[in-house]
Amino acid sequence: MRLLAMVARRCLWMPPTLFGLLLIVFTVSHVIPSDPARVMAGENASASQVAAIRHQYGLDLPLPVQFLRYVKDVATGDMGKSLFTQRPVAEDLLARLPATMELALFAMSLAIAIGVPLGVVAALRRNSWLDHLVRVVTVAGLAMAAFWLAILLQLLFSMWMGLTPVRGRINGWGPDPITGFFTLDAVLLGDWETLGQALRHLILPTLTLALPAVATIVRFTRAGMINVMSSNFVFYQTAMGIPRRRIVWKYLLRAALIGTLTQIGLIFGNLIAGAVVVETVFDWPGLGTFAVNSILHSDYNAVMSFTVFTGVIFILTNLMVDIAQTMLDPRGR
């Protein structure tokens, strides 16, 4: 089957892609004027203490050697220790992954649930007031800075209306971890109160993260729909009296979504990146706050690992998008 061949080919490409990613991350982190040995040794360390630490961590070796050791470590799942907490970085990242993934998946689902129908309706009623309204709102959605929107939402819904929590992922402890997704774990445990709480905490960060994604999805869905609406197969089915709603929501939508799908892969990467800002504003204990803290502590090992980690998520997302696309479009198979 062609689909399997495609997946195999993409998987073969993953090691070289990862190698390139590591090379860039490594180079960038060695170009910035910051000496990790000095950071680790502390402000009052003597020159010989710094040299000892530099030797202990292999930081005195030639850069290519350091890089190859780094690649070997990452390949075996060892991302080194945090210079600040002395805990293994990979463990910290994995522990925080579910919080970010839960937020990103909620935002993505919301963006698709709103963006696709809105794009379809805007395309069907092209140049109507609804279409213009959608266009204005989506441009605004793309232009608005996430931190500003987040603060506005907090002000409106949390401070003035008192409807949602201002910050955090839950009050007190989360449910016993099964998947690490609070909502899913609460459902699995049948703990409806925790579920409600987790959902209420999710509302504002999800909205903040979803708005720019909605904007992109609406625009691509609308453009995709308009592109296929004038196809001969649409005229044929219309001339054969097949109900309009059937033509639109079954036949047109799938054709239109192929373009949107590519965007969804890119958007998901943006969501993970956007999480850095949104998580900071909402004090969400995910990868984003981890990254910000690491940067503030000059914890360069942690920052590098965060970058590699999000890079891997991005690569995997695009692999899934490619698979979905191949399943949607038989011509590529």
């Binding site: 196809s231 001969n232 197969f233 005229f235 044929y236 089915q237 219309t238 001339a239 054969m240 009296g241 097949i242 109900p243 059937r246 079954k250 036949y251 799938r254 054709a255 192929i258 949607l328 479009d329 038989p330 011509r331």
Partner: protein
């Protein structure tokens, strides 16, 4: 079931269609009148842009939103399609009593769905067993429709049908796709099939096969066919009668023999003379197809007509019948022997 009825299946009376465009209102059809009898194959011939396709779309009720149709009536099987409730037309007429074979079988299939999906989507809404307004697809009907589809696909000589149904459109040849289109047009057991240049996109060798197949099936099922074509050879192959259109006006209707042997319309004469043959060098008709935003008054062919006189510029000619069943709208018809 054949109810007692008159011989005419479709009768178009003085129908005009105009399009609102950026350069003004285009008068694409001008008072067309036409009758189609039960079981007859009528060819609608004319140059590109003469309004054949617009007429086909008008009958189907599938004009684009910037088009407007007016006229006395389009009577189909006792119903006036100009005044019918659009929902009823979509449910009961389009795709059911009147079906459609498109010009280009390559793009008429949605490339993302299997052929089987698209055939059964059609039958879901247009199966002869479907009750009016029925929304679902009951299992018994589905099974009957499956059998019905297999039988007809076999009849149009498609090979390996169960596998074909699982294929995607791009995996099937052009000739097979047009066979599929013909089968799909006949599956709802219509009374009229509108075929819009059904063989233009195909190789010449396949054209003849497809035309023969269309004629056989139409005759065997007693279905009327309205076939538009710019190719007089196609009309000669399968039509019983031919109507010539020029710039949105229907000018002559004649039985196929009379049409080729003794046309009464000067334009038809010129068309026939322009056909390449052994003794004739290749010839065109002098002049250009008129602009439909500001069409010539009177008979629209008058600027190019060798027989033109003042009356042609002043008024549209009335319909005359120079021979039985031979209608012509011309102030100076040629003598019919």
């Amino acid at each position: 079931m054949i109810a007692p009825m008159d011989a005419d299946l479709l009768s178009i009376r003085d129908v005009s269609v105009s399009f609102t465009t950026e350069s003004g209102t285009a008068h694409v059809l001008d008072e067309i009148s036409l009758t189609l009898r039960r079981g007859e194959i009528m060819g609608l011939v004319g140059e590109s842009g003469c309004g054949k396709t617009t007429l086909a779309r008008t009958i189907l009720g599938a004009l684009p939103p910037n088009a407007r149709a007016r006229g006395t009536a389009i009577t189909f099987d006792g119903r006036d399609l100009l005044t019918i409730d659009p929902r009823e037309a979509a449910d009961q007429i389009r795709g059911r009593a009147i079906t459609f074979v498109p010009q280009d079988p390559f793009s008429a299939f949605n490339p993302l769905f299997t052929i089987g999906d698209q055939i059964f989507e059609l039958l879901r809404w247009k199966s002869p067993d479907r009750e009016a307004g029925e929304r679902g697809y009951p299992r018994t009907r589905r099974r009957a429709d499956h059998e019905r589809a297999l039988a007809l696909l076999r009849r149009v000589q498609l090979p390996d049908i169960e596998r074909l149904l699982r294929k995607y459109p791009h995996e099937v040849s052009g000739g097979q796709r047009q066979r599929l289109m013909i089968a799909m047009a006949l599956l709802p057991e219509p009374r009229l099939v509108i075929a819009d240049e059904p063989t233009t996109a195909l190789d010449v060798t396949i054209q003849a096969q497809i035309l023969r197949l269309l004629r056989e099936l139409a005759v065997e099922r007693g279905v009327s066919v309205l076939l538009t074509t710019h190719d007089l050879g196609v009309a000669w192959e399968i039509c019983d009668r031919v109507t010539v259109m020029y710039a949105g006006q229907a000018l002559e209707t004649a039985p196929i023999e009379a049409f080729f042997r003794a046309p009464a319309l000067p334009y038809t004469r010129l068309l026939l003379d322009s056909l390449p043959s052994g003794e004739n060098p290749l010839r065109g008709i002098a002049g250009d197809v008129p602009n439909l935003v500001n069409p010539p008054p009177g008979c629209r062919f008058h600027p190019r007509c060798p027989e033109v006189s003042d009356v042609c510029r002043a008024s549209r000619p009335p319909t005359s019948e120079p021979a039985p069943d031979h209608l012509v709208r011309c102030h100076h018809p040629l003598a019919v022997p």
